[in-house]
C-alpha cells in the first residue's frame, strides 16, 4: 500500500494518477491509491478516524477500497472533515443554504485546490469542449463575488482555461441574473454567427428563460451552441422537471437537445459527473459518468451492498480528488445502476405526498 507521509505527497500522487487516466482511462492503481489516501486521512482527519474506529474499519482491517467507511455528505455541515490543520484552511467551499448550519464546509489549501483543478478540467473539457470554439455565457457570479461556491470556482477555472474565448459572467453575487447583459451577449453571438455555450444552474436557466418570456423574446443560436445545466433549485426559482427545462432551452434559445449536457457535482466532492458528451449521440435514459479517478456505486439502502444492474439505490462516490478531506462519500441522491453509468432519480428525502408527518425542520 502507498504510504503518504505528507499532504503534498498524497496530492502529487492523485494528480499523477489523474494525468495517467486522461491518457488511459483504464489505468491501474485506483484501489491502491484509494487505500493509501484512506490511511492518510485516517491519520489526519480526526472526525473521520473516529467514525472508522467506531466501525472497526481502519487501515489495518480494510483491504478493499469498497470497504472504506463512507461519510454522509450532510456530516460536512457540522464536522470539520479535513486533514488540514486550522491554519492551513485557506479556502472554504460551502454548499448553498439559508443558514450557516445548513451549509456544508469543505476546506482546501493550495495543494488540494490544485488537485481540484486537475480533476475538474479534463473531464469538463472531454464533455463540453469540442471543435467549435464557442463563446461562453456563464450564468454564474464571478469568483470574487462568490468565493465560497465550488461551482463558481469551477467556472472560474473553465474561463481561465478557455481564456481566448469571449465570455460573460451574467449574475451577481446573490445569483440574480443580469438579464440585459445575458441577452446582449446572446444577441451578439447570434448576429455574429458565433456559437455559444451557456453554463448555469437549473434555476439560472429558469431566470434567463423567464427574462426572455417577459420580453417575448427568443433566440435561434448558431448551430454548435451548447448548454451545461447543473441541477438544483434551492428555492431560487420555480422548479421545472428536467425534460421540460431542456425543451424550453431548445425552444427559446435554439440549443439542440443533444447539446444540452447535465453536470452532477457538489461542494463535498472534487470531481464531477456528466450525462453526455458534445458530439456524441445521447441514448435514453441519459447516464451520468464520473471520471476514472472517482468511482460511483449504487448501494441498497437496506444493506449498503451494491445493487444489481438496473436496480435503484443510494449513490456513493469514492473520489480520489478529495485528497484533503474524505474520499468515500455517501450522497443523499437516489440512482439507478447501469453497466456504464448511473441514472439520477432524485433526492432520498421524503416527499410531501407522504402526508402529514413531514416537515422540513432538519437541523445539521
Amino acid at each position: 500500500m502507498t504510504n503518504f507521509t505528507s499532504l503534498t505527497e498524497a496530492c502529487d500522487a492523485v494528480s499523477t494518477f489523474i494525468q495517467r487516466c486522461v491518457g488511459d482511462p483504464h489505468a491501474a492503481g485506483f484501489g491502491e491509491l484509494a487505500l493509501g489516501l484512506f490511511a492518510f486521512q485516517f491519520a489526519h482527519n480526526t472526525p473521520f478516524a473516529n467514525l472508522c474506529q467506531a466501525e472497526n474499519l481502519t487501515p489495518e482491517t480494510v483491504g478493499d477500497w469498497r470497504d472504506i467507511p463512507t461519510v454522509q455528505t450532510r456530516a460536512f455541515k457540522s464536522l470539520d472533515l479535513t486533514v488540514l490543520p486550522e491554519a492551513d484552511r485557506e479556502t472554504l467551499f460551502r454548499s448553498s443554504g439559508t443558514t450557516q448550519v445548513d451549509r456544508s464546509r469543505h476546506f482546501h489549501c493550495a495543494e488540494t485546490l490544485a488537485v481540484y483543478h486537475a480533476s475538474l478540467w479534463p473531464w469538463f473539457a472531454g464533455h463540453l469542449v469540442d471543435e467549435s470554439a464557442n463563446r461562453l455565457l456563464f450564468l454564474f457570479p464571478e469568483l470574487g463575488q462568490a468565493p465560497e461556491s465550488s461551482l463558481v470556482h469551477m467556472m472560474d477555472t473553465v474561463a481561465k482555461r478557455l481564456a481566448k474565448r469571449e465570455h460573460c459572467f451574467a449574475t451577481d453575487g446573490q445569483w440574480r441574473i443580469d438579464g440585459q447583459a445575458a441577452v446582449d451577449f446572446l444577441h451578439d453571438c447570434a448576429t455574429q454567427n458565433e456559437p455559444v455555450t451557456i453554463l448555469g444552474t437549473a434555476f439560472s436557466f429558469v431566470h434567463l428563460l423567464d427574462h426572455l418570456d417577459a420580453d417575448a423574446m427568443d433566440f435561434q443560436l448558431p448551430s454548435g451552441s451548447a448548454a451545461m445545466e447543473t441541477g438544483g433549485y434551492k428555492g431560487r426559482s420555480r422548479e421545472m422537471p428536467r425534460p421540460k427545462l431542456h425543451q424550453a432551452i431548445t425552444a427559446k434559445l435554439g440549443v439542440a437537445s443533444a447539446r444540452i449536457i447535465c453536470e452532477y457535482g457538489m461542494c463535498e466532492l472534487s470531481s464531477q459527473a456528466y450525462d453526455g458528451k458534445l458530439g456524441q449521440a445521447n441514448t435514453a435514459p441519459r447516464l451520468f459518468r464520473f471520471p476514472p479517478w472517482a468511482r460511483a456505486r449504487v448501494v441498497s439502502p437496506e444493506t449498503l451492498a451494491d445493487v444489481e444492474l438496473g436496480q435503484a439505490g443510494l449513490l456513493q462516490v469514492v473520489d480520489l480528488a478529495n485528497a484533503g478531506s474524505a474520499l468515500s462519500l455517501q450522497t443523499e441522491d437516489l440512482a439507478r445502476r447501469h453497466a456504464d453509468g448511473f441514472e439520477l432519480l432524485g433526492r432520498a428525502e421524503l416527499l410531501e405526498s407522504r402526508g402529514c408527518s413531514l416537515m422540513n425542520l432538519t437541523h445539521a
Binding site: 473521520f48 467506531a54 444493506t303 402529514c356 408527518s357 437541523h363
Partner: protein, 451 residues
C-alpha cells in the same frame, strides 16, 4: 362473498376514463340518491349500520378484511400484521354508544340532526350537514378516510371520495362493506382515484360539492384553498407532528417495561406514518431511568416487535431516507459522546437515535425514533416553540396525577391532543382533529327564535 370482482365505485374500474362531465354527473347522482334516501334516515338507522360495518371488519374471517390483509403491501402501504392491528384499533371504537356520544359531544342533542331541539336560552336550533362533501383522501393512512365517510353518513351527506392514484383499495373495500350492509346508504357514496391537482376533474368536483375536506400535505391544502370558491366550506388538515414525553417517575409508577412497551406501540402502529405517530420521545433526566438507557431498552423492544409484527418492505426512497439519517448519526455518534445509535442489522427495520441535542427532529419514519433527554416540560415547550402550530399529539408516560400537571402547560401552549403514551395512534372516535370539532366543522346551524 365476494365471488365476483368488486365493481361498484368508479375506482373499481381501472380502465375507466374520468372526465369533467362524468365527475359532475356522478356528483349530481349522489346528491339525488342522498335526497331520496340517506337524508330521510334517523340517527339510529345510520348508526346501527355503521356499527354493523365495524362488526364485520373486526371479524378475522370477514372476506373484505382478508382481501385488505392479503393485498400487496405496496397497494395498502402496510404489511399484513401492521394493517391488521391498525384496523382492529380503528373499528374497536365504532360502537353505537360511541357514535351517539360523538353526536352528543358535537350537538348537545343528537336529534338536532333531524329537527329543531331547544337550547338553554329558549331558542331552538338544528344542524344541517352538507348535501355533498368531497373528501380529498390522504395517501398514507386509511383510518381518516373511514372516519370521514362515517362522519359524512352521520350528517346525511352524499360523499365523493377522491383518492390518489393507486391508493383507493382500502377505501373501496370499506365502501363495499357499506354497500353490502346497506346499499341505500352506499348509493350516496362514490370513490374515485386520480393524481391530485387534475384541474379538469377537480373543478367539476369542487363546483358540485358544498364542502371539501382535505387530509394531506400543506401544499395540497393550500392549493385547494386557492381553487375553492369562497362560499364553499373547507376543512383542511395539513402537516402535523407528534412526540412522546416520559416523566421521570413514570417507570417507577408504571414499571419500566410497560413504559418501553407503550413507546414501542406508538412507533410500530401504522409504521409511524401519519400525524399522530411520534418522531421524538423526550425522557426526563434525573429520574431512575436514564434517557440513554431508555433508548437502549427501546431498541431491544423494537427488535422484539420486529419478530411479532415485522415492519415489512418499504420503498427505496423511504429506505434511503433512513439510511441517510443513520449514516449521518453514525459519524456524529463517533464524534460526540452525546449521541448514540441502535439499529437493526442488514436492514432499516428499526433505528433508535439517542441525542443530547434537544431540538425537535423529524424522523424518516418507518420505525426510526429519536430519544432525547429533557429537564422539564417547560424546556420542551421552549425548544418546540418554532413548530408550536404544527404539533398534533403528545403521548405522556406519567402517573395519573402527574399527567394532569403536565397536560395543563401543554394544552395552554397549544397542544390539541394529549394522551397516554401507547395510545397516540388510537384516538377515540370523537377526537378533535387539530383541536377542531369533527362534525361541527362541517355543518351549518339553523336557529329558530320564537316570540
Amino acid at each position: 362473498m365476494p365471488e365476483q370482482p368488486l365493481d361498484y365505485f368508479l375506482a373499481d374500474k381501472p380502465g375507466a376514463e374520468l372526465t369533467h362531465s362524468l365527475i359532475a354527473e356522478a356528483s349530481q347522482t349522489l346528491r339525488r340518491n342522498r335526497n331520496e334516501y340517506l337524508a330521510t334516515l334517523g340517527n339510529e338507522q345510520i348508526i346501527s349500520k355503521l356499527a354493523e360495518v365495524a362488526n364485520l371488519w373486526r371479524s378475522p374471517d370477514y372476506p373484505l378484511r382478508q382481501m385488505a390483509l392479503d393485498a400487496d403491501p405496496e397497494e395498502t402501504g402496510f404489511p399484513r400484521e401492521v394493517l391488521a392491528a391498525g384496523l382492529d384499533a380503528c373499528f374497536a371504537d365504532w360502537t353505537q354508544e360511541k357514535f351517539f356520544m360523538l353526536l352528543t359531544q358535537e350537538f348537545g342533542d343528537p336529534t338536532r340532526l333531524q329537527s329543531f331541539a331547544s337550547q338553554p336560552n329558549r331558542t331552538y336550533s338544528m344542524v344541517n350537514g352538507p348535501q355533498l362533501i368531497a373528501h380529498i383522501a390522504p395517501g398514507n393512512l386509511p383510518v381518516p378516510v373511514f372516519q370521514s365517510i362515517a362522519f359524512g353518513l352521520l350528517l346525511r351527506s352524499a360523499q365523493f371520495v377522491k383518492c390518489a392514484s393507486g391508493k383507493s383499495l382500502l377505501p373501496r373495500l370499506f365502501g363495499h362493506s357499506l354497500h353490502f350492509v346497506e346499499p341505500g346508504m352506499a348509493a350516496a357514496l362514490e370513490i374515485a382515484e386520480w393524481d391530485g391537482g387534475n384541474e379538469s376533474l377537480e373543478s367539476a368536483l369542487f363546483a358540485e360539492a358544498d364542502c371539501v375536506t382535505v387530509n394531506g400535505g400543506d401544499k395540497t391544502v393550500e392549493s385547494i384553498r386557492q381553487r375553492l370558491p369562497l362560499a364553499k366550506r373547507l376543512a383542511g388538515y395539513g402537516h402535523r407532528v407528534s412526540f412522546g414525553y416520559v416523566e421521570k417517575q413514570a417507570n417507577e409508577v408504571m414499571g419500566t417495561q410497560t413504559v418501553i412497551s407503550h413507546a414501542a406501540d406508538d412507533i410500530v402502529a401504522w409504521n409511524q406514518h401519519g400525524c399522530l405517530s411520534p418522531h421524538v420521545i423526550y425522557v426526563e433526566e434525573n429520574g431512575s431511568l436514564n434517557p440513554a438507557r431508555f433508548a437502549e431498552m427501546l431498541a431491544g423492544e423494537l427488535e422484539a416487535r420486529n419478530e411479532t409484527m415485522p415492519r415489512g418492505p418499504i420503498s427505496t426512497r423511504e429506505s434511503a431516507a433512513i439510511s441517510t439519517a443513520r449514516r449521518f448519526y453514525k459519524i456524529r455518534a463517533a464524534n460526540n459522546a452525546g449521541a448514540a445509535l441502535w439499529e437493526s442489522e442488514d436492514s432499516t427495520d428499526w433505528t433508535v437515535v439517542h441525542e443530547d441535542e434537544k431540538q425537535f427532529q423529524t424522523s424518516p419514519l418507518n420505525r426510526f425514533i429519536f430519544v432525547k433527554p429533557i429537564e422539564h416540560i417547560d424546556e420542551v415547550l421552549h425548544v418546540l416553540e418554532p413548530i408550536r402550530e404544527s404539533v398534533s399529539t403528545v403521548g405522556l408516560a406519567a402517573s395519573e396525577a402527574r399527567m394532569r400537571d403536565l397536560a395543563l402547560p401543554l394544552a395552554r401552549w397549544g397542544v390539541p391532543r394529549i394522551c397516554p403514551l401507547g395510545q397516540m395512534q388510537r384516538p377515540p372516535l370523537a377526537w378533535r382533529h387539530d383541536g377542531r370539532p369533527p362534525l361541527g366543522e362541517l355543518i351549518r346551524w339553523a336557529d329558530l327564535e320564537t316570540a
